[in-house]
Structures are given as C-alpha cells and as structure tokens.
Symmetry: none
Subunit: 189 residues, 4 copies
Amino acid sequence: MDKKAKIVQASIEVFKEKGIEKTKIADIAQKAGIAHGTFYLYFPSKLSVMPAIAEQIVLQFMNKIEATVSIEDPLQKQLNQLVDAIFQVTEEFRDVSVLIYAGLSTTAHMSQWETIYTPLYDLVASLLETNKNRQLVRETIDPAHTAKLVIGLIESAAEQVYLYAAYNVQNEANQKAELLTFLEHALRP
Amino acid sequence: MDKKAKIVQASIEVFKEKGIEKTKIADIAQKAGIAHGTFYLYFPSKLSVMPAIAEQIVLQFMNKIEATVSIEDPLQKQLNQLVDAIFQVTEEFRDVSVLIYAGLSTTAHMSQWETIYTPLYDLVASLLETNKNRQLVRETIDPAHTAKLVIGLIESAAEQVYLYAAYNVQNEANQKAELLTFLEHALRP
Amino acid sequence: MDKKAKIVQASIEVFKEKGIEKTKIADIAQKAGIAHGTFYLYFPSKLSVMPAIAEQIVLQFMNKIEATVSIEDPLQKQLNQLVDAIFQVTEEFRDVSVLIYAGLSTTAHMSQWETIYTPLYDLVASLLETNKNRQLVRETIDPAHTAKLVIGLIESAAEQVYLYAAYNVQNEANQKAELLTFLEHALRP
Amino acid sequence: MDKKAKIVQASIEVFKEKGIEKTKIADIAQKAGIAHGTFYLYFPSKLSVMPAIAEQIVLQFMNKIEATVSIEDPLQKQLNQLVDAIFQVTEEFRDVSVLIYAGLSTTAHMSQWETIYTPLYDLVASLLETNKNRQLVRETIDPAHTAKLVIGLIESAAEQVYLYAAYNVQNEANQKAELLTFLEHALRP
DNA sequence: AATGAATGAGAATTCATTCAT
DNA sequence: CATGAATGAATTCTCATTCAT
C-alpha cells in the first residue's frame, strides 16, 4: 500500500474513532506511521482527504452490487440484492458515511459529490435500462433520474436503520420488507 | 423571543453565511446581540446548538406541509404538494441542512435525530393512514414505515438537486417529475 | 454563624478540595449558600479571605496550646505537649496550611503574616519567659526570638511529617522523639 | 543551555518579577526567547515548572553549603557558615521560594517535595555524621532526622527574617545570633 | 522524499465583577 | 442587604503549517 492509500485508510479509522472535528492531522499521521510534515506532501488539508474516502465507499457499493446483483434474475430478486448490498456497505461504514456528508459539505468539495457518485448512478441506471428493455420495469421511467431516486431511497432507508435510530433486528427486517414492496410498486410495469 | 431562541436563530444565520467550521462563537454571540460569555449560559458548545437547529428545520417542514397539503385533494395533488413543501424548505436551508448532519454526527447527538424527526414522520404517517382508509393508497402499506421511506426519498431527491449538484432549473423539473411518478406508482392501489 | 464566618468556613473547605488556583468565587459562594454577588459584600477577592483563614489556624494553635501546656509541669513535659499541640493542628489543617503560605505570598498580604502570628509568638515567648524565671531554660535565651525559632522548628518538623512525605507512623514517632531531644538540649540550662 | 533549562531559568526570573498569579505563559516564553507553543512541548502547564525550579533552589543551597562549610572547622564555625549559606540563598530567592510552596501544594506535586530535598538532607546528614564521629556533636543524635530538623529550623528562621516581616538589619543579626546559640546547644555534646 | 521541532495565529473558554431588580 | 444573569477582558491552549536538516 502506497503512502497516499495509507493516509486515506488511517483517516477513515481516525475519523471513525474521534469524529472529524476532533481529529488532528497529527492523529492521522501517527496512525499512518508517517511524520506530520509528510501528510502535506499528499493532501493539503484534513478535509481534502474526504473525496478520497467517499470514493472508497462508492467503490465498495459498486463492488458489492456487481458481485451480487444478477441481471438474469427476476426484478424482485435483483431489488432484494441491491438493497442488501447498499444496506451492508452502509452498515459497515456507518461511522464514516455520515461524516462524509459533513466533510464534503463544510468545504468547497460539495461539487465533487456528484462526480464521485456518478459511476454508481451509472451502474444502477444501466441496470434499470436493461430491465426496462426486458420490460421488467415500467416503460415510463427515465433510467438516469430514477437511478438517483432509487439509490437515495435505499441509502436513506439504510441510514434510518443503522445510523439514526437504535439498531433493532425486527425494525431492520420490517423496514427492508416495506422498502422492497415500495420499490417494486414504484418500478414494475 | 427569549435568549435561547435568539441564539438558535443567530446560529442558523451565521452557519448559512460562513459554514460551521469557520463560525466562531463570537460571531454567533454578536449576531444574537449578546456577550460571548452569555452564549455559554445556554449552550456548552457550538455543536450543541445543532439539535435545536434541526428541530427548527423539522418544524419548517411540518408548517409548510400542513399549510399546503390538503387531505381532500386527490393523491397526485397531495404528493405534488408534499414534494414541493420538502423541496422548498430544503432549498431554503440548503446551507445548513447538510451541516446539521455534520453537527449531529460528530458528537453523541446521533440518537437525537430520530427524536427530532418523529413529529414529521408522524405527520406523514397520519396522511398516509387517512389516504389508506380512503383507498387512495394501496392497502399493503404500513403507514409508519412508509412515511419514513417517503420522507427519505423526497429529502434525498431534494438534496441531490439543491446540494450535491450544480443547480439547474431543467434538472430540477425533471427530477421532480420523475419523483412524482415514482411516488405515485409506489403508493397507489 | 454570620455570613462572614460562613464564607471563611466555606473557603477553607473549598480550598482543601480544589486548591487555591482552581477555586472560583462561585464555588465558595455556593458552598456558603449565598449568591455570587454577596461574596463581594464581605471580601474584595478570593485571596483576601486568606488572612482570615490564617487567623483561624493560629487561633487553633493557641487554643490547643493553652488547653494542654501547663506551666506547672517540668520542661520536658511542657515541650512534649507543645509539640503535640502543633503537630495535631498541623495534621488537621494539613491541606490548608500550606495553601496559606501560597495565599499570603502571592499577594500583598505578606506583611500580615507577622501580625497574624504575633499572638502565637507572644504566647510561646511568655511560656519561655516564665520557664526562664524558674530557671528551667537557660538564662541566655531571648524569649521573643527563641519563641519564633521554636515555633518555626516544630512547624517545619510537623510539615515534613504530614505534608511533604508519605505519612508513616514510625517516622512520625521518630521525628517527634528526635525533635524533643533537640529542643530540650537547645533550651535547657 | 537547552530549551528546557532556558524555560526554567526564564520562569524563575518572571516569577520573581511578577509573582505566579500574574505571570502568563506568554511572559515566560518571551523571556526564554521561544514561541508560546514551544513552552507546551516541554511543560504541560505553568505550575508544572515548579518542581524544576525547586530543584534549582535546592541545588543552590547545596552549592553554597559545599563551598563554604568546612568539615575541618570547629562546630560553631561550621554552623555559622551553614546558617549563612541558607540565609543567603533564601534571601536571593525570597520572591520565588515561597511561591514554590504554592506551586507544589496546589497540585499533586506535593510528594515530589521530599524527593527534591533528599540530596540536601543527605548532605547535611553526612556533615552531622562526620561531626558525630569526631565527637563535635552529641552522640545521641540521629543524623538523618536531625538534618531535617536543622534545615527546617534554619529555613524557617530565614523565612521569618526575609519573607514574613519587614526586613531589618538589626533584627536579622539578632535572629541569626539567637539561632546559632540555639543550634549549638541543641547539637553539642 | 521525509522528518518533526518549532511556530504563532486564532479560538474556546473561564470567571471575577457589575448592577438592575 | 441580597441576588444571579449578564458581561467581556484576559489567558490558556491547540494544532495546522513551515522549513532546516
């Protein structure tokens, strides 16, 4: 792992532990096993690491989706797998994912958000497109826009389960079931 | 307006202007027309104002929804008004709303999120319930869970339009239209 | 107990608990059961309470000495009782007595020290005087100066035992025994 | 001189000038010719410099004693020189020495006191031991305990002269004379 | 490229003190 | 006399950033 990757990894860990506000460059450097000054050779500031972290998370989303969602399956199963993928990654990165919003929002990095999410949007849009061609989803959808709605919907549902409320197995199951029905009705022809 | 409310109001304004990171307690105090020290009589830190701000925003959501959404209207119109309400408030608070995530996430305030949103969830759940009784939405929905999904969906769509991408009128219109269709299909019987 | 006495008492307790540096006027006021502002009706500052506290301690010394030292006893017994008296009070006020030095020294109250100790010096000087007249102590002593030496010697010995070292029963006994022999040799004819 | 020593030296000077209470970290840093922040690389707080200062003073005591007290001299002369040494150093550090009590007492540094004084106690104990072997002091003394008594006695006498009362040449001479006679009687065979 | 001691601007926070009630 | 909310001057302390090695 090169130093840049080490820094990104260390940042994720320290942000998880302490939160962004309380994290010092020194903490990141120490966790990464480098000197303070070295940090600046790779990133100009604490928050500038955020986009790299966000990319990591989006990459995780994509890997998981590509690994589990099969275009050959019936719509319901695909949606099930898509939801599972996003729920799993959100759970894994529960501590950082919200920080990402913070990190990107408190600076001028806001615009990078769209760029970072684009590959994920594209991936889901293409899934929708294919399903649309196979007439598994209604003809009236616009894959690009609907992809964003679908991802936003699933992410927010996952965040409600894993971040904003005390975790509860039953609640997770109910929320997921309701979400799936909701999605199916929204998309099916 | 008592001093606590004044501080909350001033915080919203200053956060909008400068962002959280750049905001000094001194700025808030000045805007609120009080001395630095007085701030600490009401809040222990900058971030501890966040939950109060979040409550304000949720209150705005509720006021707007109650003012515009009429249970007497057909579903499509109700959804249209609900979406408009949430889009409008999100736009108005575009600069603070994401910062709220930051503020609530960096501290131990996470759990307050659910509490703060509860009245809004309840309001929308009750709307769904009534429509369900009138058979305007499908019988299979669970109003409580679906309310969360609906709010999460609309909020995330609004954030995508107003926060994460360069604002674009056409895009806003398309996203809204697609969102409405999506919602109608998801909810209708 | 009037309010002034209450404040002095409260100050002693708070200084014991927190030390001078960390004690706020607010702490003293709270412990005394009065409002912040009321403190200022009786004392102009935190440190100005010090002389009153010092007077308290000196009063304790005098009471104990007067209660236990009998001029009728042989010198050895008198010294024994004098040492015990000073050791006891020093132990009781172990936490404040050093703070007194601090409190009196950090301000312009230094000169009050002599005044506060004068009655104690006088008391011991008069003891020495009487013993000198009875030829129990050597004729060459000057009661006034020797009183100061005696008190300084016993106090410093007591402080070494109770304040500056980990307390140890055996050590206390040895130090006292050595001190008594030392004093006897220094004073006897 | 390394930076730590520079800070200790600067602290002594500034404390002498202004007293502890009125001394700002900034003052010490400036006198030491370093930046504010650098201070914190060496000491966590203003008071934590105290033990290092106390060590300095004890070192001065020892240097002065070793330079002036000759074991070859008769007891009276040795005591004279010992008293002079301690009086001189106490006078020189009159403004800091009492502050040291304050500094060490307000914190958890109390126990360090014994450690810091140990070399001085040992030095005087060894002087007593030698004199005892030469039968210049009475056989019944315990050098270790008596060393503490002797130092405590001389120090307190010096403090009475230089710190707690208005300085007065005649008084100083009388006190010293009385002290010497007192010591001789206490120690001689 | 890497280091980490030194810097010092800048902010948070405290708390003695006031004064209208 | 007593109160305690409000004040804001004053200081501590932090930590991003630099730069000589």
